[in-house]
């Protein structure tokens, strides 16, 4: 009787552990998400975003240029000779 119960317990443990392993395997495979192929729309948006990045950089440089032009002009205006 004791042997039968021990065998059953061992079987339960083996089945339980095996089940976990199988589930783990399943989880691993399910976590592999396929990357969708880029659509033309996404490519377009990226390209135009790059243009906007260029324009922001141009705007920033123009702002700095304006500031320097103004600073130079202010110095000229202070000339008291």
């Amino acid at each position: 009787m004791t042997r039968v119960l021990g065998a059953l317990l061992a079987l339960v443990i083996v089945v339980t552990l095996g089940g976990c392993g199988l589930r783990g395997g399943r989880v691993d495979t399910s976590q592999v998400v396929s990357t969708p192929a880029p659509t033309p729309t996404l490519v377009d948006d990226g390209s135009l975003d790059s243009v906007l990045g260029d324009l922001e950089q141009a705007d920033s440089a123009l702002g700095q240029s304006d500031a320097d032009l103004a600073t130079g002009g202010e110095a000229e205006a202070r000339d008291d000779e």
Partner: protein, 230 residues
């Protein structure tokens, strides 16, 4: 009617007062006694030293400026700072009005801190910002838009987009032409040049304004194309 005349008179007075206040001191109003020259010299040199001490860190930290322009501008500003400090001591130590007056005049005629040194440094920085940053960014935007219009957006091209692209190209050329060599032109001006021609920096400022306006028009044209494609 009386009220109108009063208003006109008041406006005239204000114009005259404002005009008088705007007239800079010149040789005719220069101080003549030793204490007066020393006081004016102390004020003029301290004022310029403070301005130079603001400009030097500003030019040093300017993210747009090319290394060669920065080195040249800082050399001029540092020399002017040394010159002002030296003159300040010499004027204070002068024992006669003639010597003090000569030193006082050199604050202006030899250094031209406000008329040349500080403006030329900042005008050169502005020109470098245009030539080294703004225009390359616009050229990059132009190239990207041309690629998009020849590729994925080929079917989206309209006459308006074509006109904006032409405007983008035209204004970039105007900006490039106006900004070309401008930093060097600004930094080449000397106090002697200014003494001979008080308007010597005007062409630099005019070209800077032309280049800046063209670059802004180019940016607006590129933005219009992006907006039309989105």
């Amino acid at each position: 009617m009386n009220l109108r005349n009063s208003a006109l008179t008041a406006a005239l007075v204000l114009m005259l007062v404002g005009g008088a206040a705007a007239v800079p001191a010149n040789a005719d109003t220069a101080p003549s006694t030793l204490p007066a020259i020393q006081a004016a010299g102390a004020h003029a040199t301290a004022d310029r030293i403070a301005a130079l001490n603001r400009s030097i860190p500003s030019i040093t930290a300017n993210a747009c400026m090319a290394d060669a322009s920065r080195a040249q501008a800082l050399g001029t500003l540092s020399a002017a700072l040394d010159g002002m400090q030296e003159l300040s001591g010499q004027i204070a130590a002068a024992t006669d009005a003639v010597t003090a007056a000569g030193l006082y005049r050199s604050i202006f005629e030899h250094w031209r801190v406000y008329a040349v040194a500080i403006p030329q440094a900042h005008f050169a920085a502005a020109a470098d910002c245009l030539q080294g940053r703004a225009i390359p960014a616009l050229l990059s935007a132009q190239a990207r838009l041309e690629a998009a219009l020849a590729g994925v957006h080929a079917d989206d091209v309209t006459p308006e987009i074509e006109a904006d692209m032409q405007q983008l190209a035209d204004q970039i050329v105007i900006a490039q032409d106006a900004a070309a060599g401008l930093a060097d032109d600004a930094l080449a001006v000397t106090p002697a040049d200014y003494n001979a021609d008080r308007a010597v920096l005007v062409p630099v400022k005019t070209a800077l304004s032309t280049a800046t306006s063209a670059a802004r028009l180019a940016k607006a044209a590129a933005q219009s194309v992006v907006d039309a494609l989105r």
